[in-house]
Symmetry: C2
Subunit: 335 residues, 2 copies
Amino acid sequence: MAIQAYAAMRAGAPLEPFEYDPGPLSPEHVEIRVEHCGLCHSDLSMIDSQWGGTSYPLVPGHEVVGVVETAGPQVKNVKVGDRVGLGWFSSSCTGCVRCLSGDHNWCRTVEQTIVGRHGGFADRVRAHWVWATPLPAALDASSAGPLFCGGSTVFNPLVQYAIKPTDRVAVVGIGGLGHLALKFMRAWGCEVTAFTSSESKQAEALSLGAHRAVPTGDRDFLLRSPRSFDLILVTVNVALEWPLFLQAVAPRGRLHFVGAVMDPISTGAFGLISGQKTMSGSGLGSPATTAKMLDFCARHAIAPQIESFPMRRINDAIEHLRSGKARYRVVLRNE
Amino acid sequence: MAIQAYAAMRAGAPLEPFEYDPGPLSPEHVEIRVEHCGLCHSDLSMIDSQWGGTSYPLVPGHEVVGVVETAGPQVKNVKVGDRVGLGWFSSSCTGCVRCLSGDHNWCRTVEQTIVGRHGGFADRVRAHWVWATPLPAALDASSAGPLFCGGSTVFNPLVQYAIKPTDRVAVVGIGGLGHLALKFMRAWGCEVTAFTSSESKQAEALSLGAHRAVPTGDRDFLLRSPRSFDLILVTVNVALEWPLFLQAVAPRGRLHFVGAVMDPISTGAFGLISGQKTMSGSGLGSPATTAKMLDFCARHAIAPQIESFPMRRINDAIEHLRSGKARYRVVLRNE
């Protein structure tokens, strides 16, 4: 049965109704009836072909929550009727050494939900079972979508680097990713600092979990805070004065990038050597880390703070996100 | 009793005989009769005031092996007659949270052996007991000196980052530091690659422990080796094409700097995010890590490869090191 979707027909174009035939379902894949789908900055980057190489028509959408409607005969872990989430990745081989290590996100044949295939702004979407993660019943389906991309992106470093509740951590940029990072880190037990360039978000950052909020451009604060933070998580994609942030990193600490900063990141060797500091980056977590995140969200009542639009108003939603007014994540709903 | 030393009286000057009165011995300090003292590039940097702020007269030398001749009444762990080593650091408070954590090298009042005090090119030198590390009897006193600075610098990352025998590792720059890194890594059980810009060192690198040696400028090798190395340890202090080396780092791997690269180190965020990679740096290890290194050296018969000069020929030794001909570490001996 044809899938009813919304697609960009060329770079930067508004989305328009688009129908496509998904062909026969692979034996290890599921077809998900989309209930909700978050709108992420990466969707805009793909619509605009900002990273190059977008092929059109493009059906964006990679923060899906929905119900498994059909399951191939070799599907494991989920079954028809289960509510699942689907994020940036949609297929891995499950057989290579990376998959066998639990790093399905690094599988050499990993498929990305909106790269060379069609995503979640549609009535249905397909994925390999390994990336269709069951949604715990305690989580609200209408707001959970952004966990599967934005959430996984900021939760992953906490797991990968074994961040401890005794750590002092900071988030740079309080948007779709950053607001979730604040919630995670507060529940994680850490001392949490928010850096935001928006004055209006400073008070909100405190309500989201930060113990204090600091203007991103406050050089004096950074200069007064040498060797203070075990982790500074950068969610923005603009260039900042990184050596100054690195100075504020504690011994054995880390300045970590999850935002697609396009300008080169630069430091002197002594800025790393003195205090054994690290600059690093990471993308989305594995299926196991995603499941761990959902369990943590259920236990700590963590949900993305969203604004909901009906799917037919997708272009309004995109404009809202582009305007920088989203607080903090936009989710489309099928009606 | 006055100490007989060799000092630079001004920036870049040859060393000349110099006598100074060390004053009363602090209760927690030892006085060491210097038998051997390695010559390190950092000595040259300090003689030349390359990092700024050298005060003259300067007695360099911070890779000491000698015998405890006098011990203050509150000295622990070592006693008169013990053979010990002394490296870049010579005193820590032992009471602050960093010392209590075992990171005496990060003590806020840490003293550096040749910064604002006099070092090991002398008949005697003093240090707090915590930095006078007993030399295992199995180690040769005449060659062990370089372990206490160069050795500790390249051994430390193996401990800090829990490098595994199953890891694939590489060393960039096969000199005083790099040749020890090859020996350590081979004994550690790793697959070891040496990058060297010197053709003559390629064969030597294999004899030092490398499984293969590659010219540092071989871009094709790097381009053919994406995601290959769990650790690339950079011991050089010149600018190289770091994004290319970062591409050769394996997922969750690390491009690590111990050399004082003066030019900025630059990368794109995607170079870090894709494969969750890290750029980091570190300095010398703690007293406990130093002791661990010495034990490892004794068990694996690891010793620096040195050229020995009598102390009175210190200026010849300095010229030899400056000429780039040292293979691989120069050690001065008191006769």
